[in-house]
């Protein structure tokens, strides 16, 4: 596992504690791996320019 991923493992443990999860030791690396994949997806998504005026897709219907 890379240094970055080790950092994500620590982050995952901290975020679990923040939410009151008891994250089993054997889950930490797997959860970190999933979050790492999501972070890469997010970075790719964020890289796409959208104007400030862009509206989100869901619309609340009162």
């Amino acid at each position: 596992m890379s240094d970055a991923s080790e950092h994500v493992v620590e982050t995952v443990a901290a975020l679990a504690a923040l939410q009151g999860f008891e994250l089993r030791p054997e889950s930490r690396a797997v959860v970190a791996e999933h979050l790492d994949i999501a972070a890469k997806m997010a970075a790719y998504l964020m890289n796409f320019p959208l104007p400030d005026e862009a509206e989100p897709a869901p619309v609340f219907a009162p």
Binding site: T11, V12, L15, A16, Q19, G20, F21, E22, L23, R24, S27, V30, V31, A32, H34, L35, I37, A38, A39, M41, A42, Y44, L45, M46, F48, L50, A54, E55, P56, A57, P58, A61
Partner: protein, 466 residues
């Protein structure tokens, strides 16, 4: 009747029952016998409702005896992915935890509608836990097996639906599709599957996964059965907040209108790389038959997949956060750690994904000004072996579970209607599907194309040789 009673299609069963050539009771009893014979090997069903089904069938026969006109699905057996409410049973959604849910007080809207058309519910079907799955495997209930080769995956998350219909246990199954869960098992098990436009069919009375992306639809062995079931299920339902305010637009009578006037193209770019050559050969096979030489590029499909992935993680996590905190050990391990990761992403990822979704919708809408139908692979490979963790695509080894949906996710992300159609090439034992994608609300066009291909023998969904 062209086939033994126990493997008739829904339309054929209904025609026989309406004419009096077959009783609904005999149709249902034959179906139950086939389930009893095959399911121990294939594991499609988590519950069979024999008493309810026979009572329902007898009531249909009694109505016919009184001279009443029967519905378009008279006596046709069907089963539902076990995230549909069935009165008197807890709605499992593939989980162990949900066994403790209060039994449903009524059937899901779509179950009610199929039964209003005189179809007969016979059982609930296995699925990946909480629908977060592309394999059809399940730690609590076992894998639903592919009837064309039981050592291979049925596909998920509607694995039991794929297994049951391909094995001829039922002619029709109802399933859900958030990122590909109708189209993937249709591809792996060699079936026709319809994922309608987002907001078309009511989701009331089903256990959700990702409200932004959840769709429901039918899987069957013929386009006629898809269309009959789809027509029976359309219509407004105030119980689904996300349902579009549109009138029903029946398609069955449209099926044979042909495709001469339709502009059909293949999706290039993202959809023409990153898969096994078999999936591209399947698309080429269909495109050739349709004379579709034009290639179009669906813009930013890779980013659309990323955005769908992030929304799925976050909304899935929001749905299950309390259960994850209280009883993580009761989750399927393959589901649990992805859901936990979903609780940890920054909120702005999802907000951005929802903004990108509108941009992408508009960009793809422009594409549909030039074409009526776009063809793309349904899955990057034929069904992997059960338990297979990785697959090699374009020389790169990658997680099978995370990548089976690469071609379905960018399409459901903006709710486009799709018919998955099964292709058999090169004498292979396992099929592979092609997505026939139309503009929003044009299910009729996708079904017309699938129908033409079916008639010409280009695609087919045979009952597996058991």
């Amino acid at each position: 009747m062209s086939a033994p009673v126990d493997t008739l299609g829904a339309a054929e069963t209904a025609a026989a029952v309406r004419s009096g050539a077959l009783s609904a009771r005999d149709a249902v009893v034959a179906c139950l016998a086939r389930i009893a014979a095959l399911d121990p090997r294939l594991n499609a069903f988590t519950s069979v409702y024999a008493t309810r089904a026979i009572a329902r069938a007898e009531a249909i026969d009694a109505r016919r005896a009184r001279g009443e006109t029967l519905g378009p699905l008279a006596g046709a057996p069907f089963a539902v992915k076990n995230l549909f409410d069935i009165e008197g049973s807890p709605t499992l959604a593939g989980s162990k935890i949900n066994r403790e849910r209060t039994p449903a007080s009524s059937d899901a809207t779509l179950v009610q509608r199929l039964e209003a058309a005189d179809a007969v519910l016979v059982g609930a079907l296995n699925m990946g836990e909480y629908a977060y799955d592309f394999t059809g495997e399940n730690q609590h209930y076992g894998a639903s097996r592919n009837p064309h080769d039981p050592e291979h995956m049925s596909g998920g998350s509607s694995g039991g639906s794929g297994t049951a219909v391909a094995a001829g246990m039922v002619p029709l199954a109802l399933s859900s599709d958030t990122n590909g869960s109708i189209r993937v098992p249709s591809s792996f098990c060699g079936l026709f599957g319809l994922k309608p436009t987002y907001g078309r069919l009511s989701r009331a009375g089903t256990f959700p996964f990702v409200a932004s992306l959840d769709h429901l639809g039918p899987m069957a062995r013929s386009t006629a059965d898809l269309a009959l079931a789809y027509d029976a299920m359309q219509g407004a339902d105030a119980r689904d907040h996300a349902q579009a305010r549109r009138p029903a637009e029946p398609v069955f009578a449209e099926l044979d209108k042909g495709i001469a006037s339709l502009r059909v193209a293949r999706a290039g770019g993202y959809f023409a790389s990153g898969g096994h050559p078999d999936c591209f050969a399947a698309v080429a096979h269909v495109a050739r038959a349709l004379g579709a030489s034009k290639e179009v590029e669906i813009p930013e499909a890779r980013r659309a997949r990323a955005a769908a992935y992030l929304i799925t993680m976050a909304e899935g996590a929001a749905l299950h956060a309390e259960r994850l905190a209280a009883r993580a050990g009761d989750f399927d391990i393959e589901t649990r750690d992805r859901l936990i990761a979903g609780t940890m992403g920054p909120g702005h990822w999802v907000a951005r994904a929802q903004k990108f979704r509108l941009w992408y919708r508009d960009a793809v809408a422009k594409l549909f000004e030039e074409v009526d139908i776009v063809l793309a692979p349904a899955t990057p490979t034929r069904a992997p072996r059960l338990g297979q963790k990785t697959m090699v695509l374009d020389g790169v080894e990658m997680s099978a579970r995370a990548n089976i949906g690469i071609f379905t996710q960018p399409i459901s992300f903006i709710g486009l209607p799709v018919v998955a159609a099964p292709v058999w090439t090169g004498g292979e034992r396992l099929p592979i599907g092609v997505q026939i994608i139309a503009a929003p609300w044009r299910e009729d066009l996708a079904l017309r194309v699938a129908r033409q291909l079916e008639r010409d023998g280009i695609v087919a969904a045979p009952v597996a040789a058991m």
